[in-house]
Each structure stands twice: as structure tokens, then as C-alpha cells.
Amino acid sequence: MKKYFILITIFALVLSACSSERELDKTIFIPDEENIELPAYTEWGYNSFGANYERGYFVVSNDIVPCKILYRNDSLQFFLNGISSVNNQREPMTLAFIFPFENIEIYTDLLKLHNTLIDLKSDDCVVKMINGNDEKILEILNGKLHFKRTQLLKIDDVPNRIIISGIFELNFLKNDFPQSISDGRFDLGITSNLFYSFQN
């Protein structure tokens, strides 16, 4: 009987620990006052992003992990995963920004991104658009990715995650057809589960 009690207690403790993490992992969508289809620009780690994509939107979804970051071959790969709704068609979409960046070993090193402006048109920068199995490298006409602020989030004095907030916009050719993503903004909480580093 005592064994069962201890097991149940441990199980309850594990469950409560998991649920508290999930609270901060979930997406919180606070609508922009001017365009309620997009999330407002925030710096609270709400795990949300959004942008105008042509006459539709590329926005965060509750069902998809909104961001993953990979460091490999001296480059940082910043993935935004969401839903695109263009021409009344909703489908999962990923936008990947790949650019050279100083060495990042653990997720807390992402603080180095603070106030970093990436010119997406530069030669060493690559932007990919992935729709299902269709992956395309975009020919960038002009664009920028600005990590405006990075913060180490502590909860009850214990480091929990890195909050990355910023803006992005780009004009590009896709299948030789010009398109644009504008007024993009993101506010993401990155933990060790969302950051991967492959050292050479």
C-alpha cells in the first residue's frame, strides 16, 4: 500500500511539473490592434508570429511548434512553422532563414542575437520556403530579419528559456513569380528542446 502511495505521489509530481512547462510552451495569440489577424508585436515569449503574405497571412498555429533553431556549419537556421492562407487555401508552411553567425553551443547563447539585423539579400544568406514536401530556395529581391531583443527568462529566479522577439519582411521570386511577406513579427520562447547545435 505504501509503495502505491509513493508511486502515485511521484506520478502526480511529474505530471504537475510537465503541465507547468506546457503553460509556457503554448502559443498565446494577442491580436494586433490595427490588424487583428496578426499577433501584436510583444516581447513576453508568447510563442507567436505572423506576417502578411500577399493578400493572405502566414501565422502561428496552436497545433504546430512555431519555431526551431539549428546551428550547423557556422550558420544559424531559424525556422518559423505555421499556416499560410493565400488564395483562400490554408496549408502548413515553414520559412527557414539560414545565415552565418558566431558559434552557439547551448540555447542560452542565443542571447547573442540581441539587436542583430540580417540582410536577407546578402550572398551568404539563404531563405527557404517549405510547403509540405515542396521545398524551395527563394530568390530574395530584398528583405530583412531583425532580432530586436533577446532575453533570458527566469521564473522564480530559475533560468527557464530565451525569449527572442523581432520583425521580418522580404520580397522574393517563387517559381519566377514575385511575392512578398511583409509586416512580420515574432515573439518566441526557446528552450533546450527547440535548439539544436551540431559542432564541426
Binding site: S16, S19, S20, E23, T27, I28, F29, I30, P31, I36, W44, Y46, N62, L111, H114, R149, T150, Q151, L152, L153, K154, I155, D156, D157, I163
Partner: protein, 277 residues
């Protein structure tokens, strides 16, 4: 609560009418009683308010304007009623057979708070350019104590001192915030060290507030002996829009219930006629 007030309101009218009819059935006698009486009162006033979410509180739920109107980013409902309890002393003086003037001192109390609909909510204690420090809070309660000065004019519908006598009232009250105390229940007791910091981030309600009110009530008992009264009030022209750190005025009318116990004092007397059955 509103239903109860409405029922009492109509009951006051009905009883007043019944006793007014009985007035014509007995023998009229002359009666005297002191013009001055000391009242001890207690009551409650409620106002419609809306939630004010403190700036340092992290949202914990999405807010979709067209879908989740009832949600206010996870913190219960946007609408909340604000309740103010009070007691006080109030000398009342009869000007003539129908009018009585009263003024006094009231001590008012209100408790308002934030209780998370999850296990806790997150409060940003401090931040620098590259760091943010949150603490988990189970709930926050703010207690506000006011000192108020009410001035009231009572208008009795009947000249006779019936055992139950209907009256109307107009009044005004100004309140001064005397003490505001905030109690924070931290999820982790070691975070108590941030209490003072969070207290400084929490806004205080308006220092001065006040309102006018009209009311209808029943006096119960003869006025030459200790007697009581119960009345319904409708406060209006409410000033002081910030009720507490977490709620503000959304509708400039309220509803109140007041009971008073009077003890006749003083030597100056007023003659009344009453019906002796």
C-alpha cells in the same frame, strides 16, 4: 443580488401603501418625540466594473475578439461587480414632519483581487535589456479602507409616525482612501522577497471618490423609542473611476442596501400625530 434588491424595493412600496391605508382606520392621537437621533448603520453598495489587467501580468490565454468575448486573456471574466461594505454613525435631525437631515461618518471596506484560473499566473518583477524575471503567483488580493462622509435628506410620505413608515431619500457621499493593503500569495514561498517590489508595481485606487444616491425605505418602530430602517439605494454620478488595482467603473450606476438602527437623543421634541388602533 439584484433580484433580491428589486423584490425588496417593491416590498417597501407595497408595505408603505398597506400602512398608509390603515392610517385612516384608527383614532388619531398627538405624540411627541426627540427631533435628534443617533443612527448606527451598515450596508453594501455594488457597482458594475470591468477588469483592469496590471501591465506586469503575463497573459495566459489567447484572446480572439470574435470568438472568446468572455475571456480576458485567461483571467476570469472581463466584467466584474465591485462591492463596498460599510458601517458608520449618523446623527439624524427632523426638520419638520416630513423631512429629516442626516450626516455622519462611514467606514468603508472593499476586497478585490486576481485569482488565476490556472494553478498560478506570472508576474514580471523586473527586467533589463537582456533579462526578464517572473514570479509565480497564486493570487493577489487588495484590501482598501475608506473613510466616508454621507449627507442625506429623508422625505417621509406620511406625517404620522406609523410603526412602519415609508420614506424616500436623496444623498451624497465623499470617500477618502485611508489604507490600501495588498496581499500576495506566491507559488514559491522563497519569492516573498519580491513582495515590496510587486506592491510598488500595483496601482492604488483613486484617493477620492464619491457618488450621489436616491433610495426608498421603510422605517420600522415608533420614533420615541429605538427603531430601525431598511432601504434600497441607487447610487449614481459615481466619481473615482478606479475602484481598485484590478477593476474600474464600467457603468455609472450602482445598487445598495442599507440598514440603520436609531436611538432617539436630545430634548428638543417634535409633535407628530399617529394612529392608535
Amino acid at each position: 443580488m439584484k433580484k433580491l434588491f428589486t423584490i425588496l424595493f417593491f416590498a417597501a412600496f407595497a408595505l408603505g401603501q398597506i400602512f398608509a391605508q390603515e392610517e385612516n382606520e384608527g383614532v388619531e392621537k398627538t405624540h411627541e418625540f426627540p427631533r435628534l437621533r443617533l443612527g448606527v448603520e451598515a450596508g453594501i453598495s455594488t457597482f458594475e466594473g470591468k477588469t483592469v489587467k496590471p501591465a506586469m501580468l503575463r497573459e495566459n490565454q489567447s484572446y480572439y475578439p470574435f470568438e472568446d468575448r468572455d475571456f480576458y486573456c485567461g483571467f476570469v471574466l472581463n466584467n466584474r461587480s465591485y462591492k463596498q461594505y460599510y458601517f458608520g454613525v449618523k446623527p439624524e435631525f427632523s426638520l419638520n414632519h416630513n423631512l429629516a437631515l442626516a450626516a455622519g461618518l462611514r467606514f468603508l471596506f472593499n476586497k478585490d483581487g486576481f485569482v488565476s484560473d490556472k494553478n498560478y499566473f506570472l508576474w514580471k518583477v523586473d527586467e533589463t535589456e537582456n533579462s526578464a524575471n517572473y514570479v509565480k503567483i497564486n493570487n493577489i488580493w487588495q484590501q482598501n479602507f475608506y473613510v466616508g462622509i454621507p449627507v442625506e435628506l429623508k422625505i417621509f410620505t406620511s406625517k404620522s409616525d406609523l410603526f412602519v413608515r415609508q420614506y424616500f431619500k436623496v444623498g451624497a457621499q465623499v470617500n477618502f482612501l485611508a489604507v490600501s493593503h495588498t496581499n500576495i500569495d506566491f507559488n514559491n514561498e522563497n519569492m516573498e522577497k519580491y513582495s515590496r517590489q510587486i506592491n510598488s508595481q500595483i496601482e492604488k485606487p483613486d484617493i477620492f471618490s464619491g457618488y450621489c444616491y436616491i433610495g426608498v425605505g421603510l422605517k420600522i418602530g415608533r420614533m420615541n423609542h429605538p427603531f430601525g430602517s431598511i432601504e434600497i439605494q441607487v447610487p449614481f454620478l459615481v466619481s473615482g473611476k478606479r475602484y481598485s488595482a484590478f477593476s474600474e467603473q464600467s457603468f455609472p450606476f450602482g445598487l445598495g442596501l442599507q440598514t440603520t438602527f436609531f436611538i432617539p437623543v436630545g430634548k428638543t421634541k417634535l409633535g407628530y400625530t399617529y394612529i392608535d388602533d
